[in-house]
């Protein structure tokens, strides 16, 4: 006897929430290791797009992005040095929120053949999105540093107490840099796992719409 549609949806919700609890815990515990795996990819991308020279892990679980730009004004001990911008641990946590949610959605029924392949494709897609999102965050931090203005999207992202020698972002470029950062941090990690999951599991969409 097959389950009725409400039973199938109930089973989906139950398994998804239970899997979420497991994957969130695993992700939290292994966050340092997982972010460490991705950092070289983000560094490669930052070099490719001329955003940064190198990215180091700092002691607060975040990253220090070395821009290659020279500090020309500010505290004496910084003058002449290379400017760095910080990607805080909280920002990296926000960017990586999509992974445990995606894993939980995929772990819930219905199950298709080739589930392992679907997992890998989804993780690769979200991994690429993470790298691009991290680059958006770095680009925004760079724009704030160079233009020495706070982000219109998040006034907490304020410029540091020094100036660098670099060509300013024009008004549109600055706004787009801050908008990209906002989308990357606040929107994409919420919607991307759902979109990728539905793209990989059309049967799940049919079940939720009551067509299966």
């Amino acid at each position: 006897m097959t389950a009725s549609p409400p039973q199938r949806r109930g089973r989906f919700a139950l398994v998804a929430f239970a899997a979420l609890a497991v994957f969130l815990g695993l992700w939290w515990i292994n966050f340092d290791v997982l972010i460490g795996l991705v950092r070289p990819l983000v560094e490669f991308g930052a070099n490719l797009f001329d955003l940064a020279a190198s990215i180091d892990a700092n002691t607060n679980q975040g990253w220090t992005v070395w821009t290659g730009l020279t500090i020309i004004s500010g505290p004496r001990e910084l003058l002449g040095g290379t400017a760095g911008v910080v990607v805080h641990a909280e920002q990296l946590h926000y960017l990586s929120r999509s992974f445990p949610l995606f894993l939980a959605l995929m772990a819930a029924p219905p199950y298709d053949r080739g589930l392992a392949r679907q997992f890998l494709i989804g993780l690769a897609a979200l991994g690429l999105l993470f790298v691009l999102s991290a680059l958006a965050v770095i680009n925004c931090a760079l724009a704030i540093l160079i233009n020495h203005e706070p982000s219109p999207a998040d006034p907490r992202m304020a410029p540091p107490n020094f100036l660098v020698r670099a060509d300013r972002y024009d008004e549109l470029g600055f706004f787009l840099a801050c908008l990209d950062q906002y989308l990357a941090m606040m929107m994409l990690p919420l919607i991307a796992p759902v979109v990728v999951w539905l793209a990989l599991k059309p049967r799940a969409l049919a079940m939720l719409l009551g067509r299966a």
């Binding site: 929430f17 939290w28 445990p100 908008l179 606040m186 919607i191």
Partner: protein
């Protein structure tokens, strides 16, 4: 060959509807983001809304005997440690925006979509009140768990709830329109 709609034409129609839904959803979501980034909207709508959430949380908690104070966007225990600041991102405005855009993009009557947005966003905001209150108590009684619940658990729970709420609404609408 039997009379009726050809299966391939039916699939093509469904694909067109899906593309229309996706495009409309993205356009509405981006329009919503543009609004949220507007300083006037942030100062005159989002910030007062966030403060009202804090006020509601304080009123709910105080109904059950605990003593908390709402000071702008900060919710804190009176006479004891433990406080949370409800910033942008913690007011579930982004999830509400995405859910509202999805409902507004769904092929349904205007009244069904309007009521759907109000009801579904209301449910999400009710869950968010539970988030804020739970984080306040975690800040006081289990500060070691605060960041985990703040950064991961509640966001994922709210998104999953948003997905389920959306599909429950589409099911209800589909049943209502067919009857």
């Amino acid at each position: 060959m039997s009379a009726g709609i050809h299966p391939r034409a039916d699939q093509s129609q469904a694909d067109k509807r899906a593309v229309y839904f996706a495009a409309t959803f993205v356009a509405l979501a981006l329009a919503g983001v543009a609004l949220l980034l507007n300083r006037y909207v942030d100062q005159n709508i989002v910030t007062p809304f966030t403060r009202s959430l804090v006020d509601v949380c304080a009123a709910l908690i105080n109904m059950f005997g605990d003593q908390v104070a709402a000071n702008g966007s900060v919710l804190s225990f009176i006479g004891a440690h433990g406080a949370v600041e409800v910033a942008n991102g913690c007011n579930a405005v982004e999830v509400s925006l995405l859910l509202g855009a999805a409902i507004a993009a769904f092929p349904a009557s205007i009244s069904a979509r309007a009521l759907g947005v109000l009801a579904c966003v209301g449910v999400v905001q009710a869950i968010n009140l539970a988030r804020i209150i739970s984080l306040l108590f975690l800040a006081r009684y289990a500060p070691g768990l605060f960041e985990f619940f703040h950064l991961y658990v509640w966001d994922a729970v709210i998104v999953l709830d948003g997905v389920l709420i959306f599909f429950l609404w589409t099911r209800r609408y589909a049943r209502a329109s067919s009857s």
